[in-house]
């Protein structure tokens, strides 16, 4: 028995399932009726109007109604939507035991202790029939599902079957309605409407319950004689078939199971018993400790039962409905009834594979629970609960496929079993806490202690490993090494679902999903209130799962949501694209098409695959407030922008992502003060003062406008503001503007005009306007104020800004993916295309220009109208404006189009994108950003002398762009050449420039140089190696390995440059044989190719010999002999050796000790022996004596010796 829900309450006497919703009614001995949601486990409602115990309760099939009957003799009909009792049917004269709606007719049948059964019409609210005959309490009465029959059980020890076909006929033909009323009385005494068809005698105590089989002519009854009896009937008679004995106290209720051939009974002996109908024997007994059972009820549609007892009720299932299944290589393997079947997802073919043991023959829940499939050997492991856990192993041979005979299985005990290798499977032995590994012949191969003491289940985790469940954690266990590879906490895991690439795993428990990597590192977890039933990963890494009533998704970042609602639970087997394959509870394979839009969109967003996002937005597969708020919440307001049509929301989003262009368009649409104000604030923040100006103009915010003109130094407009203020009679405004302009006369005039004569006088006097001051003094007469003498006063004039034309320079923003990509169909663009951009005129064209003048004039005109000034003055203002216009621009204004054009700010060139994205010197050089490239090289490699790099720099930059004619004869279009092009890369994604210097080419050059060295063309070789060293700083490679190759190349080139330089120097020194001998000897200690060392040794040997340093020559000769020289070489070396050994000493002192390891200083060409101090070049790593520090490296001729540098960076992978 699988308990799904349990309640604690008073004694439950009546139960009824809702036919569709997950609800159950329980009527209690206390008189209360409870309405429960057994799926959520919550009490929805309680109905408390009966007086005394309520014994019967029943939901109507289709109406929102239920009926109840109680010990208060009342039958009540309730509407659960309005939550009230609609009416009460009165008539019974004693306790009412059961009530039931008819399936079809508006009838209720009730059984009562008054020894009658009554049938009521709940529409007319009358009793339409009284069935008399029982001569004791009638304990139960119920309609047959299809036929016109009623079965009743009574304490008179009989079960009666009543024929009500006459009643039905009467109601069906309404003409007889009138008759019925008159017949009422005669009915009371056993009239013709309902007649007893059979009286079933056999129980020898009172019968408590009797019920029909839903489809067969069978009746089952239970009585105080502790027996359950099975009856059969035909058209003419009914007889007892069998008696089921087992209960040890009164049987209170009994019924046929709707789906299986079993009978379920319960009893006051505190048990529920399950009987096999064909074998007529007890199959199972569920016992409760203290509670006597009183009532049973079955769900009309689903495989659910409920039982009421002394202290509550339980909702339960007898058997699991989840079929055992597994998916392998595009094929679903599942168990249905007694067959293992396959379903091919590609072809949709469903075939039985083999017959397996018949489940459920000996008890409940014996069917396989889990399955493990081994594709290599075509073997299947089925685990079931038989004998407290056992497994069966079927090896499917080709010829047995499709045959119906049951395969002989290899069996064993163990609670779970899974394949762990091609020919091995692991079984958990819980009792001994062992994991047993067996082969396909079911022979023991080894035993391993479980990784934790409480492991109670194992799951597949790839070859050789297992996931072991122990308490609230899961352990990844390697069986071969017997080691724990990882563990993770998760509530009791029920299923483990691996992604298709086995990189991610989902641990599914009853109410939660924990997602982890294959090493069990937690990725995210999801909690569900409703039970989770099944799950699968789709190809894109989205996790699709089902709860009892939903299909849901979960993204890698833990975002989850609902895809669709389910009527019945399903078990997902596989998800592919928008197809969900699943098994339903009948074991049928179903395919459900789901709407993947939401989660693919979110996934694309998370994975930053904006091209996909864009595509989805363009095809407008989604919309709605939810997605907008999701985008906003996740920090993609610029994406959200493109979903929104509502201007206010657009405006808000645009402000949020700082998209002034869109904000302006929206503000124009909305045209409300508040929006202009906010636009102004944002524009001010961005420093886009022309938009600020525009916003202030629209809101007529004169003070702010004046101040803006002041700080942007636009004195012309400031004086216009002064005039506007005059027009508006705004004295204070005038004064402000005059102050800003530094116009003293105007200020004095204003003060005078407004009657502040002393102030006017003071102002005039202070500023030295003596004439005016005198005039005012005479006017003032005695009231002449004293002006204090100030020594250091000076006239404050508005500072003139440095930059006063157009807008302030704005940062060039490379357009985000969306801004660029959206630029065609959206609302904005329509606007831009169609509307003459009045505001745009203001922005781009300098203020002296006609367009600006015109636009300005309009705005000022508007401003003027707003002011209180008389009409005439306004006109005056206009004339002034016109005069200011330069004549030639007036003309161009006449040309229609030009005056409407907005002007376009150039976008970011591709070269800028390159430099922004990269810290590789090569990229910067190609983009022409030589200064930043040099800074990078200086920082990374300590390069200071850039002169040798000039050609490389120039060529690289020159080769960075292609050119195309375009619209001739306008200058050709140029396009940045980018590297790593692929057909599949989306547009507008920048890869960085294609560079002309590539590692393979440099390596080829090195080979040439080796060849030149071998041939003795030392200057040629030196030139080549130096050119390599002078190219490497701008090289860019793709992988880490190549970075190492580059470093290797630098090292080799450096050694050769050093060696070759010494060799060339040696040739120059004709007169210093000892120094020559030294240099020749040093040459042989450079890290160069063996063949070159051999050549070096030969020549060094000769030089040393010639200056009579025989010991050294001998040393060199021996080294030469060790190096497998040519025949000629051997001969010569032996010769020298012979000659030297006669006189093994050096005539001249040489700074050379061949046995003491050393490197050669690149500048002085002297040995730096191991242990002595040296400095090195940060780029080529050549070593130098300490005195050289700070000079340009004489080997590579680029970097400063001993300078700080961070090291070579030549691949984007290095910074990742």
């Amino acid at each position: 028995m699988l308990t799904k829900f349990e309640t604690k309450s008073n004694r439950v006497k009546g139960l009824s399932f809702h036919p569709r919703r997950p609800w159950i009614l329980a009527s209690l001995h206390s008189g209360v009726i409870q309405l429960w949601d057994y799926r959520m486990g919550s009490l929805i409602d309680r109905f408390d109007e009966h007086d005394g115990p309520v014994r019967g309760v029943h939901f109507h099939r289709s109406q929102p109604l239920f009926v109840s009957g109680g010990d208060d003799y009342k039958i009540k009909v309730w509407n659960y939507k309005t939550r009230r009792c609609l009416f009460t049917l009165l008539g019974h004269l004693d306790y009412i035991r059961t009530v039931q709606f008819h399936q079809e007719y508006p009838w209720i049948v009730s059984a009562s202790d008054d020894q009658t059964i009554r049938i009521w019409n709940w529409q007319s609210r009358t009793c339409i029939s009284v069935l008399t005959g029982h001569n004791h309490y009638v304990m139960c009465a119920s309609f047959h599902v299809k036929e016109d029959l009623v079965v009743s059980a009574s304490l008179d020890q009989t079960v009666r079957v009543w024929d009500i076909s006459a009643l039905r006929k009467k109601t069906v033909s309404p003409a007889e309605d009138l008759l019925r009323l008159t017949q009422m009385n005669s009915d009371l005494f056993g009239g013709g409407d309902a007649v007893v068809k059979y009286v079933l005698e056999g129980h020898d105590r009172g019968v408590n319950w009797a019920s029909f089989h839903p489809s067969l002519p069978l009746i089952v009854s239970g009585a105080d004689d502790r027996q359950v009896k099975l009856w059969r009937m035909n058209d003419t008679k009914a007889w007892e078939v069998d008696t089921l004995r087992g209960h040890v106290n009164n049987v209170s209720c009994v019924m046929f199971h709707a789906r299986q051939d079993i009978i379920v009974s319960n009893s006051e002996d505190k048990t529920i018993r399950i009987w096999d109908m064909s074998k007529r024997s007890g199959v199972h007994t569920f016992r409760r400790e203290h509670d006597r059972f009183w009532i049973l009820s079955g769900h009309p549609e689903m495989n659910l039962l409920a039982a009421g007892h002394d202290s509550g009720m339980i909702v339960f299932k007898l058997e699991r409905e989840r079929p055992a299944y597994t998916v392998s290589g595009g094929v679903l393997y599942y168990v249905k009834e007694r067959h293992l079947r396959t379903y091919d997802f590609a072809t949709g073919k469903d075939n039985p594979l083999i017959a397996i043991r018949r489940p459920g023959s000996t008890g409940m829940n014996q069917a396989p629970r889990t399955m493990s499939y081994n594709p290599a050997e075509n073997a299947v492991l089925l685990c079931s609960d038989v004998d407290n856990g056992s497994y069966e192993l079927y090896v499917i041979s080709k010829d047995s496929i499709g045959k119906n005979d049951t395969q002989e299985a290899k069996k064993g005990s163990g609670s779970s079993a899974v394949f762990v290798a091609r020919n091995r499977f692991a079984v958990l032995d819980k009792a001994h806490n062992l994991i047993v590994v067996r082969n396909l012949r079911n022979e023991l191969s080894k035993k391993v202690d479980a990784p934790a003491p409480t492991v109670d289940a194992i799951f597949y985790a790839g070859t050789g490993t297992l996931l072991c469940r122990s308490d609230d954690k899961v352990i990844l266990f390697d069986i071969q090494q017997k080691s724990i590879l990882g563990e993770i906490n998760s509530p009791q895991v029920k299923y483990v679902v691996w992604s298709q690439d086995m990189e991610a795993v989902a641990l599914v428990s009853k109410h939660s999903i924990v997602m982890a990597t294959k090493k069990l590192a937690l990725k995210c977890s999801v909690h569900e209130t409703i039970r989770i039933k099944s799950a699968a990963w789709d190809e894109t890494g989205v996790f699709i799962y089902t709860t009892l009533n939903h299909i849901k998704y979960c993204l890698p970042n833990g975002d989850s949501g609902t895809i669709m609602t389910l009527d019945v639970p399903i078990y997902i087997t596989r998800v592919s694209g928008d197809k969900v394959y699943c098994l339903d509870r009948d074991g049928k394979v179903r395919t459900i098409t789901i709407d993947t839009t939401e989660f693919t969109f979110k996934l694309a967003l998370i994975q930053k695959r904006y091209d996909r996002v864009l595509e989805m937005i363009r095809s407008s597969q989604l919309c709605g407030q939810a997605i907008i708020s999701y985008l906003q919440q996740k920090g993609f307001p610029e994406v959200a922008l493109h979903f929104v049509k509502d201007e206010r929301t657009r405006f808000n989003l645009a402000i949020e992502c700082g998209n002034i262009e869109v904000a302006v368009v929206s503000a124009k649409e909305i045209d409300e003060k508040d929006y202009w104000y906010r636009l102004g604030v944002e524009a001010l923040r961005q420093g886009n003062h022309e938009i600020v100006e525009y916003a202030y103009q629209r809101t007529k915010n004169f003070e702010r406008l004046s101040f803006l003109y002041l700080i942007t130094g636009n004195l012309e407009k400031l004086s216009k503001m002064l005039k506007i203020a005059e027009m508006r009679n705004d004295v204070m405004g005038c004064f402000h503007n005059a102050l800003y302009l530094g116009d003293v006369e105007e200020r004095v005039k204003l003060l005078e005009k407004s009657g502040h004569l002393p102030l006017a006088y003071a102002a005039a006097k202070v500023h030295g306007l003596d004439e005016v001051a005198e005039r005012l003094a005479t006017e003032l007469g005695d009231k002449l104020p004293q002006i204090p003498k100030l020594e250091t006063s000076k006239l404050l004039l508005p500072p003139s800004p440095i930059l006063r034309d157009n807008n302030w320079p704005l940062l060039l923003i490379s357009k985000g993916f969306f801004e660029g990509a959206f630029a065609e169909p959206g609302v904005v663009d329509q606007e831009e295309e169609n509307a003459p951009d009045a505001w745009g005129d203001e922005l781009v064209i300098p203020s002296g220009d006609a367009q600006a003048g015109a636009g300005e004039a309009e705005d000022l005109e508007e401003a003027g109208r707003a002011g209180p000034g008389p009409e005439g003055e306004e006109e005056g203002g206009w004339e002034l404006e016109d005069l200011e216009l330069p004549p030639e621009v007036v003309q161009s204004q006449a040309s229609a189009q030009s005056s409407f054009f907005a002007g376009i700010t150039p976008g970011a060139p591709v070269t800028q994108v390159w430099t922004q994205r990269s810290s590789l010197a090569g990229d910067h050089v190609a983009a022409g950003a030589f200064d930043s490239a040099m800074r990078l090289l200086n920082r990374q490699l300590g390069i200071k002398n850039f002169a040798p790099l000039q050609a490389v720099f120039c060529d690289l930059h020159l080769a960075s762009q292609s050119s195309l004619g375009g619209f001739r004869p306008v200058e050709s279009l140029t396009y940045g050449l980018e590297r790593n092009w692929s057909d599949s890369s989306p547009p507008n994604v920048r890869n960085g420039p294609a560079l002309i210097y590539k590692l393979p080419a440099l390596e080829d050059r090195a080979k040439q140089a080796y060849k030149a060295t071998t041939e003795g063309k030392f200057s040629e070789a030196l030139r080549l190696f130096l050119s390599i060293l002078h190219t490497v700083p701008v090289i860019v490679v793709d992988s880490r390995k190549e970075v190492d190759d580059v470093k290797d190349l630098i090292g080799k080139s450096k050694e050769y440059v050093l060696a070759l330089k010494m060799e060339l120097k040696r040739k120059d020194l004709k007169d210093e044989p000892v120094r020559q001998a030294e240099l020749a000897a040093y040459f042989t200690h450079c890290d160069i190719q063996p063949s070159h060392i051999r050549l070096g040794l030969q020549s060094a040997m000769g030089v040393a010999y010639r200056c009579n340093n025989f010991n050294t020559a001998a040393q060199l000769a021996r080294r030469l002999l060790d190096m497998n020289p040519s025949q000629a070489g051997i001969a010569k070396a032996k010769q020298v050796l012979q000659a030297c050994e006669r006189n093994p000493r050096d005539e001249n002192r040489m700074n050379y000790d061949g046995r003491n390891p050393f490197v050669v200083c690149g500048a002085t060409f002297t040995p730096i022996y191991a242990g002595s101090r040296s400095v090195s070049c940060p780029y080529c790593a050549a070593r130098f004596v300490p005195e050289v520090a700070g000079q340009i490296c004489s080997v590579c001729d680029l970097a400063v010796v001993d300078a700080d540098a961070s090291g070579l960076v030549c691949s984007a992978t290095q910074s990742r």
Partner: protein
């Protein structure tokens, strides 16, 4: 329709063919004749035969007058041509003549004063105006505006040669998979009509963007056989040679003498000054 071959050849850069096709036309209406002349004289200009244009165009429509001004402009009388054009446009009737506006746009675009040029052309009611706008938007690094303008062209006539070409220009700017599409466009046009030097050059540019410099070089060398005076071909050849590690000196001097203000030359000159500046900045 009668003018199709004239215009199409003109757009494909086959100017001599355009002139030849015009010569074969007979029985044109006045309006058609004017349109034919408009393209014929522009073809002459594209061939560098300015004097012919100036000599032949005598008092006629404002569109042809504008073409004549274009020729004088290219002959070197830049300022006078510009002011004459401005005078011409002062007449409101002329100011709405798309043909004249186009010439005004071309002149200002040629001076790289794109915003000034766009003032005349941005309304873009004809395919030519749109195409010029696209060119300028791309020059201004505003590919999204170019795409928008392309949509307009596609609404007017999606299959038009000029629309196709403009599409390729935009595709090249967008990069990625669009390069392949651009390549197909050039290929298709050449199969439909014939391989003209601009088409070959376009195809070669696609190859370059796909990293196939060998193929590009071959195409460019073929193009050079057809027309050894095509600046873009030379410019791209220089870039190809650099990528292939070949010498560029000959192509460079050729290009320098042919079009000293070509963007590639500009880039080369700029590189040297920038290098010196950067050296100084590094101290």
């Amino acid at each position: 329709m009668a003018l199709f071959f004239v215009k199409n050849n003109f757009f494909l850069g086959a100017y001599q063919e355009a002139i030849n096709a015009a010569g074969k036309l007979k029985g044109l209406s006045d309006q058609e004749a004017a349109e034919r002349d408009y393209f014929v004289y522009r073809s002459y200009i594209s061939c560098g035969l300015y004097q012919i244009v100036i000599d032949e165009i005598k008092s006629s429509t404002s569109a042809l007058e504008a073409v004549r001004l274009l020729a004088t402009y290219f002959l070197g009388e830049k300022e006078s041509a510009k002011s004459s054009l401005k005078d011409l446009l002062a007449d409101p009737l002329v100011a709405s003549n798309n043909d004249v506006l186009l010439i005004a746009g071309i002149i200002h675009a040629h001076e790289q004063d794109y915003n000034e040029a766009l003032k005349y052309t941005h309304a873009g009611e004809t395919l030519e105006l749109c195409a010029l706008n696209i060119h300028m938007y791309l020059k201004l690094n505003r590919p999204e505006r170019a795409e928008q303008q392309l949509k307009v062209m596609q609404r007017i006539d999606e299959d038009h040669t000029l629309t196709q070409l403009a599409n390729a220009w935009v595709n090249l700017a967008l990069g990625g998979s669009k390069i392949q599409e651009a390549s197909y466009i050039f290929q298709e046009l050449s199969e439909k009509y014939s391989w003209t030097v601009p088409l070959m050059n376009g195809r070669a540019v696609c190859h370059m963007h796909m990293g196939q410099f060998d193929d590009a070089e071959q195409l460019l060398l073929d193009a050079l056989l057809k027309d050894n005076k095509d600046a873009d071909t030379l410019a791209n050849l220089i870039v190809c040679c650099l990528h292939l590690g070949k010498s560029t000196t000959r192509h460079m001097s050729q290009l320098k003498s042919l079009q000293p203000d070509h963007p590639t030359i500009q880039r080369q000159v700029a590189a040297e000054t920038m290098f010196q500046q950067a050296l100084q900045a590094m101290g």
